[in-house]
């Protein structure tokens, strides 16, 4: 169980850095770092326009986007759980 405790401690440290970040950046919405990078580009090269776009589906808003991200996570989690359970069951039946 030792490793689980250590991971628990890392989770606590992570939560602590988040709350520190909340206090240190009042009013921040914790937007994506890619958006922040876009701002840096706008500063370095104010005339730059993305030269390509519009291929693929663009979620109409935050709700649909969070659905698709949740599906992505759920799909992955199902596979991980299935395989680990499969191996474990197989090991026990031998």
């Amino acid at each position: 169980m030792k490793l689980e405790y250590l991971v628990g401690i890392v989770v606590l440290i992570f939560a602590a850095q988040f709350f520190y970040g909340l206090a240190a950046n009042p009013g921040s919405e914790f937007g994506g770092a890619d958006g922040a990078a876009e701002d840096v580009i706008a500063e370095l090269d104010p005339d730059y326009e993305p030269w390509f776009g519009g291929i693929g589906f663009e979620p109409p808003g935050g709700e649909t986007e969070s659905l698709l991200f949740a599906l992505q996570a759920a799909f992955g989690a199902v596979i991980i759980g299935y395989v680990i359970g499969y191996y474990k069951g197989k090991g026990e039946s031998n």
Partner: protein
Amino acid sequence: MHIFEGFLPSPWWQIWFVISIPVIMYGMYQLNRLVSKKREIVPLLAVAGAFIFVLSSLKLPSVTGSSSHPTGTGMAAILFGPAITSVLSVIVLLYQALFLAHGGLTTLGANVASMGIIGPFVAFIFYKAASKAGMNFYLNVFLATAIADWVTYVVTSLQLALAFPAPEGGVMASFVAFGTVFATTQVPLAMMEGALTALIMKYVVQIKSDVLVDLNVLTSSAVTKLKETMQ
């Protein structure tokens, strides 16, 4: 957080494709050979791919006041090496580019290079060197995957800096500006990813250690030792 669609001008988006495509092709060749030779690794391959899916969907808040997501590629890199990891990354990056407007098709080459190739390559080299030096397996997995995660975003910063050198100070000044955004934000996330990967590797050791020996990730004597200390 990948580079947005259309945000790499010529010649940079082409250059990164030229770098990535041969590695992806070599990865597909390796993958085919591995799967036809060792069918028993397929479920583990699925887990490594699924792990990238899960981790790269989690946008986590960081101390900088921005959010970013881990990559999940360190586990695949340790198990299967960077070339196969690049193939798994392409799948995830295509999904996000096509359905989530996250990343992009023109920036796919650059994003595969950072997340699927260079980060995993560093993790792979670190893991092999540290395991030769006798480092504790879980500490090694933690460090190797955390480094892979972090290096991915250092490379992203460099890719953007090369494409957008600052009028004053050039590439170096831009690298610092992008690095402040990406690399600093990523530090707590990289730590989290390292811890999660170490944990899932522990379960793999517990239930399917023979595959790890088969893949040359661990020697059989190292597995015996790990299992003894686990009880």
